[in-house]
Symmetry: C2
Subunit: 222 residues, 2 copies
């Protein structure tokens, strides 16, 4: 009997992978900004090897890009990239929702419902944007999760992370949260009545709106 499990040390390169990713998400490193492995290594007080390996992971994930002179920069999607990513999400998440309609138990449907209700209350009491975003993400995540397809989950997660930085832009518009909630509720309605076609079509429509909104906001910025 081992009462206490031995804590295995997590390799630096893995820790850095998460740290750098977090820094990209929270805006410490902004899209297009350069990442210098020498500086990171110094900053964390370690050698460059683990930093380089972490960067290779991020490179393959697409969150950083390496130019022809081996300089590393944070991924800055073009408008076309954002569109491409959203079209992939439409393909995967509309498929996911139709699978979930077929497979999800009543208990699981209730979890989705609860998330929607939480989101509704959060909006009503004027909660922080980050909290509402998290609850919205929960809705999407549940739907994919209930397909029981791990690969699908990974694909969707990776795609989302590529536009993660722009998430917050949604909420410059105050009504946006309510609109999103209403669309989520509509999708859920079709899931609960076990209507594959409508649920999956509604998911596509929802993502189209999301894309249109992001596109609009991005164009205003430039």
């Amino acid at each position: 009997m081992k009462e206490f499990s031995i804590e295995k040390p997590i390799p630096y390169y893995e820790q850095f992978y998460h740290s750098i990713k977090k820094m990209i998400f929270d805006g410490t490193y902004k899209p297009g900004e350069r990442i210098v492995e020498t500086q990171l290594a110094k900053q964390f007080g370690v050698s460059k090897s683990p930093v380089r390996e972490a960067i290779r992971l991020l490179e393959k994930e697409g969150l950083v890009v390496v130019d022809d002179k081996s300089r590393v920069m944070v991924y800055e999607p073009t408008l076309k990239d954002v569109e491409d990513i959203y079209y992939c999400r439409m393909a995967l998440e509309s498929f996911a929702v139709s699978l979930t309609v077929a497979l999800a138990s009543d208990k699981e449907l209730n979890e989705i419902k609860t998330a929607l209700e939480e989101a509704e209350r959060a909006i009503q009491r004027g909660a922080e944007a980050s909290e509402i975003i998290a609850l919205n993400a929960k809705f999407h995540r549940f739907i994919v999760q209930f397909t029981k397809n791990k690969r699908l989950q990974k694909q969707v997660d990776d795609l989302k992370s590529l536009t993660q930085f722009y998430r917050i832009l949604h909420f410059q518009d105050q009504n946006r949260a309510s609109i999103i909630l209403r669309e989520h509720q509509q999708i859920f309605g079709h899931i609960r009545s076990r209507n594959k076609e409508k649920a999956s079509q509604e998911m596509i429509t929802h993502l189209e709106h999301d894309l249109a909104h992001i596109t609009q906001v991005l164009q205003q910025m430039t």
Copy 2:
């Protein structure tokens, strides 16, 4: 005017990434087999750093997995994994084909047609399995390519590579090539008549058959 462009040296880690990937695909390293970075470094006559970085790329791609003791092994998908991967492909490639129906020029449709005709001739003259496989891959690739969505292409390519090793299993069955060709022709028929729904449904059916066949062959092996 620079008549001769300077060839920039490709970093070792990138070269190794491709080399190792090739070795996985051609069976030099088999699924589940261990990959030892020390040996690879010695074999190629370099230090371990670039080998490690190449492995990080492959790790993120999913072609190798790292266990809890940091040992690296070639990815060996379970039956459930193969199913999950194929369901993702159904989502992405059925979406792709409906986009291609909408977007592809007549010239592009002709390229698909040519690939199918080449495949037909290759089968008739009893060509090598590898050649027929390549032509089949061309068919699928064209369809995704003509969506002009680079991200979609990448997603599909990455998914395919995860079951790449099992490709060859198809052709233990002699009729298999003809069946695949017929299904491809059917899909193409719907593309040419610009019928989104049928084309995309036929693509799903085709991939379902492919999955069923691989599943069957894999079960016979064990």
